[in-house]
Symmetry: C5
Subunit: 356 residues, 5 copies
């Protein structure tokens, strides 16, 4: 996740003006489903004109646009389905803050689809346009996240088939939000592994991982936090497109979005705590090394002085005061005694002080 | 407590669909109590059909389900007692955020039952379904926490017996929330013991304990925090099932939940402060060691240089300038004087500077 | 102040059930004052039956219970004066969070009385029951804090005498809250002394004091914070027992409680800042020691090598290349020159780099 | 600024009772201005009885009391101008939290006048009593801050002269609040100078200054924060004394008080960041010293061992294995080669590792 | 960005009095555009009297004042266009907190225009006065930021031309707020580069950059934060000058301002985290150096003692106990064996402990 991933027009461009945007290399793929309680039709890789026909029918239509949209196609869709230019701009300029807009009738929402590749977190934008009987979803990534919903729609006994399209709108939002759980689950496991490693043996490389974790959690939180407000707004405000019985499911969805935010908050606290833990462990380890090394050095330095004394070349030829010890009968063993006494004294003192 | 302990369906599963969940190894045990002011009947290890009969009676029924529920049993209970599928999903997927749901009549609440094994904190989910005259409680753990309530019910003079079932509903919630007090009490004692140890002699192992404590306090707070809102919502909103006189007891319960949160907050601050205290104490201890060792080494290094000088083999055979000191009458004692002067000077300087 | 000082019943006990509580060693002392504009009667060490008689009289009654109450006495008082069982439980289970309860007529409040013994902060619970013409106060500690109020009551010209008992209720609350000022005053002086000591010469023992301070400030804040809400609630809600003119005095009291909280907040920030200051000062001091010691050692190590060179026993008997320097006329002075040059160079370099 | 600078009565004193307060050494000085659109009269060092006469006149009166008030004078003023005893107590007990009181007609406000002596921040209390046609201001410090307002009043064309006294009330508040700007300006300059010094060369003395700064910013914020609420309350609530056109000026004043708080907040963050910067710079500097010193020592220790080897007194008289190197033709130069090789190898390794 | 960049009058100056302000060196340049659906007239470097004529016309007028305004010109403009003196003061005293004022009809807003010179962030004040059919913008910097808007106005098909002047007012605000995106984009890139450098090799100079970053992010946030409230107020309150269809665009603008604040918040967290990362990396690097150096020294100190022993001048002439090892046949090789054994033992121990 990069610190700034929003696409934007140059400041001063008219709002909703998307003409200056670059066309994507690969055109997006359209997938249309037309459904009712008794009716089901599905077409993958549909064309825009295929879609336009369906919308007029009394059954419900779900168009999914997978991949980066081109400005031209968006303008055509805007004209065909009545999508507001500001919404088109938001679809094109991915990296938007999640939001819910009510353009005087149709609802338009931008959500964040989190993913985790075992090492880093990423988010992709999901935009959903919802009007009576029409749901159009856009996902900027490569793989289509909505296949489980299609599976449910194909099943004739599914609750989705019997309901108006607001339940499909809810199901899309629900799917995007619930995607947070497996991501947080994997992230939690990753954190627990790192925690164990940290406590066992801290490594400088972990600093990098910890910083990454913290950064990703902060950025992910920024992208998921507003989703709570979106669902709260759907719950609180009266939208004529949303039927009362759908609200109960939205409440469930709201609970999930709150729980995801709270778990992310605890990850944030945890990542700060793990950083401190790493620093303390690393410093503990260095302290142990330095302590042992310094004790070794300190124990040998005073004896080195002693033996240096008797390496001096003062000679008794000139003075009886010149190192008479060299001529004592037990001079040499005495030196060893002194040395062993010194070392032993130091070891005893260090031991009593619990220094090793 | 693990960072992520929520069970969840795959994203895209229909809300309330619990068919994919695994069946638990051991089936849960049901305990039924049927009571009124004058009537009392109790059956442990009851069957579902036992329960269904009681519900129809005008007396109050309390069914307690101990252990992990199986999806099939939950579905049957849902059909028999009118439990909403979303509630069934929440009962099955333990690790839910505490919440209160009003499914158009019956109330459903999820709470967190904390426990402490002397070393780590854990929480288990308690779910309570409450409809007129029926209370069904679910506890996912092994030991049944509600025995004290049964004891009170068996006593004919108990206030619980004379009241409608909303007082039992309150009593269950009250018991779960008050369980926080003994846990916090033990935790506080544990913190105080650790504090004393830290101040007496910091050990690297304590780092691990402190991190654990901080992590557990953060996670416990996440699980207990929403309970305050649940009771506040019971107090604030008018629920036809809750009688006015029960509110006074709920206010007491609300006070307790607030106090628990505040105590947990102060534990959180304390655990951060203890971490700092540990780091400071550990660094103090190392500093003392390094200071003493460095002083010892520093005191012996200059004399070692001096004695090294007179170990050189310059000989007066070639030059009168070649170490004449070796031939001085008091050369050797003078060297000792110089050495003692150096060491004494250093010791005096270090002492005056208060370095040891 | 300990981390957890609340007394509580076992979870599952009926709310308001105080039968299981232990009886205190010493029975509490009752002090009754019966007063009106023209009337004053006072009895220390009164009995419960003394009190019951007074309550019926049209004059105002103030009963003060000093010391730990016994469950039996509380039950009797509850019956005699109409104190709700939940209030009795709160009086008995000291360590309650401060709160205000309106039991459908009489008001009941729990407050926190802070004290400071020159080293640690403590709080004791003050509970006040207030009904029309009756004020009953309970203080769990040993010394009676309300003597100044009695003094004012004995004075016939006092405003308290002319008013209804709501002014006495206010005066009791005001006294408890204003007690925060002398405590904070002494605490501030203690902090300032510690700050001076820290800046002059940091000592490891101060770490302990700083941790104590931080802990006490956090715990005191937890006990005083809710008092603000209590007074705010007395101000905001209409209580028929509180006369409009008393409100102006309550506003003054509210200001005081807010100021106390704000001062405590700044103490909290200060204690964190002092902890950092201690750590920085301690680390500064060690750094100075280590720097000087390392400089001393570093200055003597290279000369020690040089003199070691000329202590080698290579002899010119075998080779003209074997230490000819030993035979140079100015060999020895040259060695000293080299040594002095090295040391001087190092000193000059260290000095220029501002290392000492 | 000290941590606790509030004056207070002993707990238990009747609210508004100021009889126990000490009389100040020097009596305060009164300055009276009586003004209207066409009328202006000014008297410095006025007596209380001078003032009383003016208040009855239909023109506006501004009485300024400079210096510490005595309890007697305050009681007299209270009686003469209808100042509530609680307000008198607040005027006397300086160090109050800023506040606005509406004693059923007249307004009374306490504000904080910040000052900066180039090194430390201080605040003094300004109290303003405002009734229809009468403004009485009290400033506890030595120098009179309101001279600029008198200058404006003396000018006949000034807007203040044409207006009712609420504009004077606003002008006094505005002056006290705007005083924050020059203080923050000087403080910002001081911070920038310290920042430069810190980055150039950190000194232990700066630690003291940084702590002072942080402490003063925290305490100043505590004293200025409530002023925002005061002006907000003047704006929001309808006070009959405040005319609608004055509100526009109060909005401007509100903006200023918000900006002052925000700037103080950023100073607080900055002071914490500067503390970290100091610690990092100091640690960087020590690290550089220790690194260089340790490299010097490490380079000379192995050669010292080598030359020690050939200083041993093993003699070939007893064994051909006894240091035959001493008799090699190129023994001595070889030792130098080995030493130079060792040192060069270490230097190359350290260099490649970028250690110096 | 400096800590305090607000210009202000001396405290006590009458609000709206700008007579004491200094005149800028260079007079500002005026650019006038008069436009309608069918009409367009533009004049650069216009005079004030040019402007006055346009305002009376029924078409829309946009006057842009580039550069520092002089008090005299502002007073003239105030008289000509009905700008309130308080607004004139805010235009002159740049460094204002962004705000929106409704002077009983015309709207006046102060905004913050951020810029980035590749190294530091700066903000300049943009003030916009908006009355029916007249928009007057002021920008205190040197280069004119509004050229893109003029480009759009010159295009006859632009939505701006067809609308009333409230859309121009919105477009100006939108441009200023959207300017945040390129700034944050560049800042994010700068942060990412610094992050990479930090992880690769921390340098003391980066400390300075990190502090700068943190400071600039804090100050920028202070200047951009209130803009959110401005747009929220435009959205929430009913301003007769703002047409309903303009609100939809303001909502878009509000989203952008929220997103900018959130991104800045995450930069703030990031900069704190980077500071910690720097400190940890720097400490890791020093630790590695010290560890290796200390190991080298520790390995050579004990052998140096051993060779010192046999450099002593005890002679067997006086005692058989005087260093008989010197006469052993394998004495010298034995010493080497002992030394190699010591070093090998230490290396093995250090290796097993994973110290290098």
């Amino acid at each position: 996740m990069s610190y700034f991933s929003k696409r934007y027009s140059l400041p001063g461009t008219a709002p909703g003006d998307i003409s200056a945007a670059a066309h994507p290399v690969a055109p997006p793929r359209l997938h249309v489903i037309e459904y009712g309680a008794e009716f089901f039709f599905e077409k993958a890789d549909a064309s825009l004109s295929d879609c336009a026909g369906f919308v007029a029918a009394p059954t419900n239509t779900w168009i999914h646009v997978q991949g980066n949209s081109s400005p031209d196609m968006l303008r055509e869709m805007g004209a065909a389905f009545g999508i507001h230019p500001l919404a088109l701009e938001d679809i094109l300029h991915t990296g938007q803050r999640p939001k819910l807009e009510n353009y005087g009738g149709p609802l338009f929402t931008v959500l964040s689809w989190p993913s985790w590749n075992g090492d880093r977190i990423a988010t992709q934008q999901v935009s959903i346009f919802f009007n009576d009987g029409v749901v159009i979803s856009f996902h900027a990534g490569e793989s289509d996240p909505f296949e489980p919903l299609r599976e449910r729609l194909r099943d004739k006994s599914s609750r989705l088939r019997a309901h108006a399209s607001d339940l499909l709108f809810h199901a899309l939002i629900d799917l995007v939000i619930d995607q947070g759980f497996p991501i947080l689950d994997e992230l939690a496991e990753w954190i627990e592994q790192m925690e164990e490693k940290l406590l066992a043996r801290p490594q400088p490389e972990q600093l990098h991982d910890l910083h990454q974790l913290r950064r990703d959690v902060v950025l992910l939180r920024r992208m998921l936090w507003p989703q709570r407000d979106i669902i709260n707004s759907l719950l609180r405000d009266v939208h004529p497109l949303i039927q009362p019985e759908t609200r109960m499911y939205l409440r469930d969805c709201y609970d999930h979005s709150v729980q995801i935010i709270e778990i992310l908050e605890s990850f944030r606290e945890t990542s700060a705590s793990l950083m401190e833990l790493y620093l303390s462990s690393a410093s503990n380890r260095l302290n142990e090394i330095i302590r042992v090394l310094t004790i070794i050095a300190t124990i040998f330095i005073p004896p080195t002085f002693i033996v240096g004394v008797y390496g001096m070349n003062f000679s008794d030829a000139h003075s009886p005061w010149a190192m008479p010890e060299l001529h004592w009968y037990f001079g040499y063993p005495l030196v060893w005694l002194v040395i062993i006494g010194m070392v032993g004294g130091m070891l005893y003192y260090f031991r009593r002080k619990n220094w090793f």
